[in-house]
């Protein structure tokens, strides 16, 4: 059976590193893995999505409405935007950060109130974490992505050391400790 994870956020938040670490970890566990990314600076500041699918034999690299087992959202509004992609009984892991999109900044729209409460009210399991706080505690606001990956890791049956090994072999040497710390904070959240 193929499982699907959606990683969503705002361009520039580091969603790509999270999906790559996730993909490499799954490959290390001998899954067939496909990841579909959105590239280019042109996406910066916009709503971005990465699809991760794994199983015995994966055909399509993309995830569509009603198909995701987990949605990892780097931002609250994005969790609501991508909610239709969640499977019935799926789970949302979300960073409690709010970033105003341009229509809100220019006063053409409002950032909806209590977004996460509304998602929960729709009967969806939500795990909300303050990943920015974890990242700052680990030493850099940039580590939000790896802290969130730690939270996702909690929700899988893949051993902690397999994740840590991927981090060690993927991120530049001088950032390994920082990222392992951020991952650990997410993993224990």
């Amino acid at each position: 059976m193929t499982r699907s994870i959606l990683i969503v956020g705002v361009g520039g938040q580091g969603t790509l590193l999270a999906s790559r670490l996730l993909g490499r970890t799954l490959l290390a566990k001998d899954y067939d893995v496909k990841i579909s990314e959105v590239h280019g600076m042109s996406q910066r500041g916009g709503s971005v999505v990465t699809y991760v699918r794994y199983g015995d034999n994966v055909a399509s690299p993309i995830v569509e409405k009603g198909e995701a087992d987990i949605i990892l959202s780097f931002e609250e509004l994005e969790a609501a935007r991508w909610l239709p992609y969640l499977k019935k009984g799926g789970k949302i892991v979300v960073n409690t950060q709010k970033m105003d999109p341009m229509p809100v900044i220019i006063g053409a729209a409002e950032y909806p109130k209590d977004v996460l409460k509304q998602v929960e009210a729709a009967g969806v399991e939500v795990q909300a974490v303050d990943a920015l706080r974890m990242a700052l505690e680990a030493g850099s606001p940039k580590a939000v992505n790896v802290a969130l990956l730690g939270v996702v890791a909690q929700n899988t049956d893949i051993e902690k050391d397999v994740w840590e090994e991927t981090i060690r072999t993927t991120v530049p040497e001088k950032f390994i400790d920082l990222n392992l710390k951020a991952f650990g904070l997410g993993y224990n959240a």
Binding site: R20, S42, G45, A59, S60, G66, L83, K88, M99, G107
Partner: protein, 580 residues
């Protein structure tokens, strides 16, 4: 060893394994990472370069191939328009060592200005075209393409789409096959295309298509897979994966790895074995029309779409009538279009232009985002380079408005195809005011070096174009340089230039804030002194994503602010603090 590789990365691995000597490309999403990854093998193994544009890149690869080294170029779909001139004639000359041309289409237009289907080029230029459906095939088809190129003495196309180029799947990596540089034997009847020679080469082209079609009938890249035969699907590339996902073994498949020329007998045989035949292909009915031309009945575009992407859910819905359940909230979710980054120098330039309220002939790059609110300062955008030439045309028709009109063009785009437009403005005498947004990098496609940056693709130092001297050389006497971070000074300098009855080149020079060396030198994030903020929203006019407004006060998000300080002079109440 198995590695998770992006389709583009796998193509690069294929180039390495196929013994390729030279890669010359111009960046363009979704093709860019092929060349970026090919660099990693080292330039003594594969000479890699960013060319000024796709035409130069393809001609460079043609020269290398005729000289006897396996050669490659990559571009996005619209890049192939720029390179179309050499393409149609290299199809006549054929090759010496293998020549492969990658073209990446963008169904759904994730980062493109149109949705053209490159398969038309394969048919029009009569060039064999392979289309992989995952990263493993990206590598294998790349290697095969070089063999076919040499076997049939032809350039070969490798067609990708965004979902193949930018998806990762596992790839078995192999060793490089050292392919020595072939002998070059002078043969101008084959390589010098004047009419007398070209007439004879056209015969070769037509014969070659027949031979290639024969090869395609039994080629391993065209595969049939029989399951339930009530439904038969002909598909290639990513669409094959969508069909497999949606239909599994409820359908039989003819998966085409070669999309030009088509294995017509194989198609006939497959069609005869299934009850209902579907031709699934994104964009234009290129396969479908050829299937129908053989008198074979099929279902294609009438049930699907000429526009946008296909997907597994679309196929399941149309063919099986199945749909998945999904949840949605009953609230308005504001859109989140991409925006100029916090600290982007383009924001300063467009803010200045907004104050001048001018017509802006636009071009393609990060700065095209200046078209969106709240700046909304781009009037037109057609293709790379068009800003300069189209402004000239406008000024000839509306000379009275020349003082209220400018062109904006990025540094990479200017070199790509803006220089010729500038030559025209000087030569044919319009008072065009051309602004080069010189951020010292090709930003839009993810930071590639270009001939203005002084660095090669691998970061090695090289010569840089002197824009000022170039303008003088083509006959533009007026050249000024402004710093777009200083919005008021930029506005005043452009206003003064607009008054002059002569063409001008205005260089808005400030490097992209995302460049590491620039970022490292930026001041700390700015802050809003709550007690001084009166909530007038003047700072919000520049549309910086780091500035938001709540409870009648502005605030600056420290995780986003780059310390550029462009917002500070906008505050009359001295509420924005920072700068050190």
């Amino acid at each position: 060893m198995k590695k998770l590789m992006l389709g583009n990365e796998a193509v690069a691995q294929g180039l390495y394994e196929a013994g390729v000597r030279l890669v010359s490309s111009y960046p363009g999403t979704p093709s860019t990472e092929i060349t970026e990854n090919a660099v990693k093998y080292g330039e003594d193994v594969i000479w890699c370069e960013w060319a000024p544009n796709e035409k130069v890149a393809m001609e460079t690869a043609i020269g290398a191939s005729i000289a006897g080294g396996r050669a490659f170029c990559a571009q996005k779909h619209v890049g192939l328009n720029v390179a179309a001139d050499p393409l149609f004639t290299v199809a006549y000359t054929g090759v010496n060592a293998g020549l492969v041309i990658a073209v990446a289409d963008d169904p759904g237009m994730f980062s493109s200005q149109n949705e053209q289907d490159s398969r038309h080029y394969a048919r029009a230029a009569k060039v064999l075209m392979l289309e992989p459906s995952d990263s493993t095939e990206c590598k294998e088809f790349t290697k095969l393409a070089f063999d076919l190129s040499e076997q049939f003495d032809t350039p070969v196309f490798l067609r990708l789409t965004t979902r193949i180029a930018h998806s990762s799947s596992s790839v078995e990596v192999g060793e490089r096959e050292e392919v020595p540089v072939k002998e070059y034997v002078k043969n101008n009847q084959k390589y010098a295309m004047l009419p007398a020679n070209a007439i004879r080469r056209h015969v070769v082209v037509e014969d070659r298509q027949v031979a290639e079609a024969e090869w395609a009938e039994t080629a391993w890249v065209n595969k049939t897979e029989y399951n339930d035969t009530k439904i038969g699907v002909i598909a290639a590339g990513i669409t094959y994966q969508y069909a497999k996902e949606a239909l599994g073994d409820k359908a039989s498949y003819l998966k085409l790895g070669c999309v030009n020329p088509l294995p017509l007998n194989l198609i006939k045989e497959f069609a005869s074995k299934v009850d209902t035949l579907y031709v699934l292909e994104q964009l234009d009915p290129v396969l479908e029309e050829q299937v129908r031309a053989m008198g074979i009945d099929c279902i294609g575009k009438e049930a699907f779409d000429l526009k946008g992407e296909y997907s597994q859910s679309m196929i399941a819905k149309v063919i099986l009538g199945e749909e998945k359940e999904s949840i949605a909230l009953d609230i308005d979710i504001p859109g989140r279009p991409p925006a100029l980054c916090p600290g982007c120098p383009h924001r300063g330039l467009f803010s200045a232009l907004k104050q001048l309220n001018v017509f802006v002939s636009g071009d393609i790059g990060c700065y095209t985002l200046g078209a969106l609110p709240p700046l909304g300062m781009i009037d037109t955008c057609v293709c790379m380079g068009a800003s300069v030439s189209a402004l000239h045309g406008r000024n000839k028709v509306r000379p009275e408005e020349a003082k209220k009109s400018v062109a904006v063009i990025g540094d990479s785009t200017f070199v790509h195809s803006g220089i010729t437009g500038l030559v025209n403005a000087a030569y044919n005498q319009s008072n065009s005011k051309v602004i080069v947004l010189d951020n010292s990098i090709t930003g839009m496609t993810g930071h590639q070096q270009n001939p203005t940056t002084g660095k090669r693709i691998n970061g090695d130092p090289t010569t840089a174009i002197d824009l000022e001297a170039l303008a003088h050389a083509v006959g533009i006497e007026r050249v000024i340089v402004v710093d777009p971070y200083d919005i008021a000074a930029t506005r005043d300098a452009i206003a003064a230039e607009l008054e002059v009855e002569a063409p001008s080149l205005i260089i808005a020079r400030r490097p992209c804030v995302l460049l590491k060396e620039v970022r490292a030198k930026m001041p700390k994030p700015f802050e809003v002194a709550i007690d001084k903020c009166v909530g007038c929203k003047a700072c919000m006019k520049i549309g910086c994503p780091a500035i938001s407004f709540a409870d009648r006060k502005s605030s600056i998000d420290f995780t986003q602010c780059t310390g550029c300080g462009m917002c500070q002079p906008l505050c009359k109440f001295d509420a924005i603090k920072g700068g050190n």
